[in-house]
Amino acid sequence: MTKDAPVVVLNGVEKSFGAVQALRGVSLELWAGECLGLVGHNGAGKSTLMNVLSGNLVPDTGRIEVAGSDITDRLTPQNATRHGVRCVYQELSLCPNLSVAENARITHPSISGPGWRRRARALIGGMLDTVFPGHGISADDIVGDLSIAKRQMVEIARSFAVTTTEARVVILDEPTSSLDAVAATKLLSHVRRYVEAGGSCVLISHLLGEILETSDRIAVMRDGGVVELDDAEHFNRDSLVAAMGSVAEDARDSADRPVIRDSAPIVVEARPKAPDSLALAAHQGEVVGLAGLSGQGQTELIVDVFDHASGAQVEGSVALVAGDRQTDGVFPLWSIADNISVGSLQRFLRGILIDQTQARDFADEWRQRIGIRTPDVDDPILSLSGGNQQKALFARALGSSAEIIVMDDPMRGVDVGTKQEVYGMIRDEAAQGRTFLWYTTEMDELRNCDHVYVFREGGIVADLPRAEMTEERVLHASFRADA
């Protein structure tokens, strides 16, 4: 591979999911013998972009070339693999019921026929020895019996292993998230060796130190586009964090809102289990934001509060607005009315039976108040768009008598118009004395909060009143200072 032809060319790639535009015309080139670091805040489009390159998502527009051939029209994982694109996914893709060697056979179809087991063992064992010397994994271990870190090692080794198809481009999506420091160092030095031997690598990581040390070039993504792309030596931690945030801070329109903290009583007090964590306190009538990268312990805290678990002191009843609508939120076979009224069934009891008319009127009232776009609340919930389904879930929580509402990143995949309506509603309800705990991965939503706690690695690392809350401070707290 010569230096004058890039291995991968992405040209004007766009991808939307419903109303949400995940990629807005991304153009990127990847050269042989380089490691490209890819950074960005949650939802910036990193994983979407890599899913397009690895063939798991078909882009709406744009062109993808690998090793000189245009594969846009035949974009499947198999075809991407055939062209040498390998991907280590964030959620592991090993079969837990198979052994390490058998898993190698799954992605390397050329290992077959008599003696395949021996060859699969040699392939995966050899690669593990190369990447993670001293790994302590036997090729005959059942993957389900291995620790998460060891599974991650197997997955990585499997992607670097070469049989009949070469590994031209290896995409590593948060590869070190479950590895300890020693294994992570081994992996990153293997990445350097691999790149110096002429391979290409895309490294996605939230650990900026890792990115700065390992990459040749770094691309910063924000809101579905690449906003900066330069040689790694031109960046440092601060300039990366600055590039990830939006350039202009919005005018602080909310500064005139009174500070509730000083007067209102505390209704929720909780402390995550991680050592050195700060404690969270929510006062009556406050909207408290839980910020940070996704999966840093925010959901766990919300569930603790909802359960009135021992670690959390909660005054009053709690209602939850689920973020993952499909698994935690809607009852897919029920009508809109049933989905709304199920949160307050106690109120409609006539003896042991439910007063259906009253429940339906209640749902209809909330349909109007919250603006669910449907002609009839008796229609099935799945007839609604995602945003309107989410509104129904808000109606369920707000319609209940709960004094405290916890929200688990409820705006995922909701269009902008709906978001604005819901923000307004949350503010109104807070003004009437309800307390909100709001886990969100979106910076804009934090501006609607009176107080923000930033989570990292299971604990709270920053406690920011509204006056001190800036995007930069949240981002700085979200990324470890030593990484």
């Binding site: 798991n56 994982p77 198999q78 893709s93 019921n97 198979l98 898993n103 799954i106 179809p109």
Partner: protein, 312 residues
Amino acid sequence: MNGLFSPRMLRSLLPPLSLAVLLIAIFYLQPRTMSYFGLNLLLNLAIPIALATIAQMFVLCVNELDLSIGGFVSLVACITATWLYDTPLLGIAALIGLVAVYAALGALIHLRNLPSIVVTLGMSFVWLGLAVLVLPTPGGKAPEYIRTLMTLKPPGIPFPIIASVVIAIVVHILLMRSAWGTVLRGAGGNPRSLERAGWSLLRIKMIMFALAGFFGVLSGMALVGLTTSADANIALRYTLLSIAGVILGGGEFVGGRVSPIGAVIGAVTLALAGSFLSFLRLNPDWQIGAQGAILIIVLALRILISRTEAKR
């Protein structure tokens, strides 16, 4: 994970150990069974149950459940005792057709994303209806070659033992040892990863269901070879027996964790449990309940072992 007594080892030893305990109890209660003839009688009916259990295992391996296997084996038995006896060509064509229908069911369940429980529950009535149409009253006759095979008297070791071992080993090589079988099992463990690696889940589901149909056909034929005649209700209890056999043999309902050797052992254990209870002179009314109790005891032991494993 060291040594003979690691929980994983114990878990895989549980099925053969339960079988051994049961056998010893039977020998103790009725020493005369400890002979060539006695074992033959004791284990005869285990062969069709073992084949049906293997069929169920293929379906369970891809995270589905077959509630129609009992009705299917009954239908095969009726066809074997009538068409295959009278007009062999028609009989063979019908049996091949049935395997194809099974593959088509696998495709239907996969493509339409239907719950297999519902589809196969529905099919169980179809199979039963067809069986009644083929053979309205009990009767028919077993083809001579099947009869001969099932009543073989090889020197030294009784035929049912040889047959069980052969079934277990053949399926073990096919599913557990071959590169091809590895992919089939992978589909139960992580279908998404299989798809990403370029394997067709549709094809895998069809193959697994076809294999289930094939072993269901073998089960029905073996059953007629033993009983010499058929009846539309002959194998209805096989549905639950086969599921219990797979689970007893160390398999699980989801995740592609199955074991052909375990499944055969589980089937034999269940078949023996019936005899054991007769030797205890237990009222037949209590037998099904007692069989259930044996199942619960073994599964409880397994959960205990898994718990100690999780604790470490």
